[in-house]
Symmetry: C2
Subunit: 300 residues, 2 copies
Amino acid sequence: MELVKCVPNFSEGRNEADVEAIVDAARAHDVSVLDVSPDADHNRTDVTLVGEPEPVSAAAMDLAVEAVERIDMREHSGEHPRMGAIDVVPFVPLLDTSMETCIELAEAFAADFAERTGVPTYLYEEAARRPDRENLAAVRKGEYEGLRDAIGTDPDREPDFGPNHIHETGGATAVGARFFLVAFNVNLDTEDREVASRIAEAVRHSSGGYRHVKAMGFEIEDRGIVQVSMNMTDYRATPLFRVFETIRDEAAREGVGVVGSELVGLIPMEPILDAAAHYLRLEDFGGEQVLERQLVEELV
Amino acid sequence: MELVKCVPNFSEGRNEADVEAIVDAARAHDVSVLDVSPDADHNRTDVTLVGEPEPVSAAAMDLAVEAVERIDMREHSGEHPRMGAIDVVPFVPLLDTSMETCIELAEAFAADFAERTGVPTYLYEEAARRPDRENLAAVRKGEYEGLRDAIGTDPDREPDFGPNHIHETGGATAVGARFFLVAFNVNLDTEDREVASRIAEAVRHSSGGYRHVKAMGFEIEDRGIVQVSMNMTDYRATPLFRVFETIRDEAAREGVGVVGSELVGLIPMEPILDAAAHYLRLEDFGGEQVLERQLVEELV
């Protein structure tokens, strides 16, 4: 069975009635609405939808259309960067679902959404058709106000779908496919932040480390220790256990021990099972043996 | 949320219409029927029900009553030991559900079932009220035919619920609570079966090892290696990773490496997460952070 997550972000986080009406448009479908997080300062709401690809896409579409109908970007303000009423629509593969499935979902969603609403729509991250759109920040550069002026004149800002001008009230939308982002921190038994920073440098992509690791060194003052704080952006290609072992080795070289680690927030089963399979040297272990996963497949 | 598994075993594995009718009695409830395994040689069917305690218990009850109505133990034959039309009804805790919950379920089920059907009913394993009923084999000693003669005369065979005589067609039933049994095998890089046998002896309860491990040493001839084959009867109290590390240490002492391990069949997420948490030294990691588990809680 294929299972995907979609996290549409829309530009309303203050008017409860509007937030509810927009989310209700998704709830009408056969999907699980796992989380709804309105933020008044950001004036933005993230919604987590999980289910099979088709109903998730249909739920996200109704939510997106409702957001375009209710939100006027000319009057929107908030701390979070944004360019549209429905700002971003990322599709994330779960279970054994492939990234290809999510790229296809994103493409079909973007074409259909632009057609139905007249909102210019960009494909980003794994779904990007141009390298300069892999980074969402580049797609959203200048936000609503900046894009309104640039689109139609700057050829680099021409959308992948929809008209080559801003939608006055709906702005513009980015639709993408990306991996599940896992926040993974490793705590080290020293007060010396430099140790954490050196190790972060050793494991992160930008300075020669693993391809799908972003990392920083921090102090945790109340515990008198330091932390290598990471975002794992593709746990299939760069597994947690491998990075953990590298950190342990580098820390040992500094004469420092690993006191523990943390997984932050919601996390799929897969990278945790992968770690168990690695350390227990499991042969032919498949996630489909896991009872909770069978339940999900049975119930979704 | 509380989640339990129940695996009623009934004494019909040949007549498809009867098997279907008995299982359908459970399907009418709001539970997941994960598996139905009729076995013609055993003339017996195992059914795996998963869901919240009340609907699972109600589904198992309707299944049990249907089995008593359809099966005549006077005419039953099969290779598997059995004493009743509905032979055993074990309740197994899942997620964070406690064993206490399953013991209470078993007690209530046994009382209600005996009342409704007049079938003498015994509590076994964790639900046993006498030490000599912890072992199912002792409860079922002599099977239907032997128990028919012994019950009413031997005070040790008096049932926990129901009349002190056999139910002519329905026989007798054992209702219990037990942990999820995990089959876990560790493969060793030697052809010497004695090594596997010595290590099995080191880790198993019966010869001084871990409290909840049953173990044997085997040869795997086609691979030219040996295996420590285990049943982990309570993975909470005796975790897989601890036994694995002991086996690795004992094997090293013999100059032998661990080539791999195997988890056989359906397995709950919990012991695998526990292994990952151990090796990655996760602090405060809770299964509730796992997306698939949240889906199960959302969907059940």
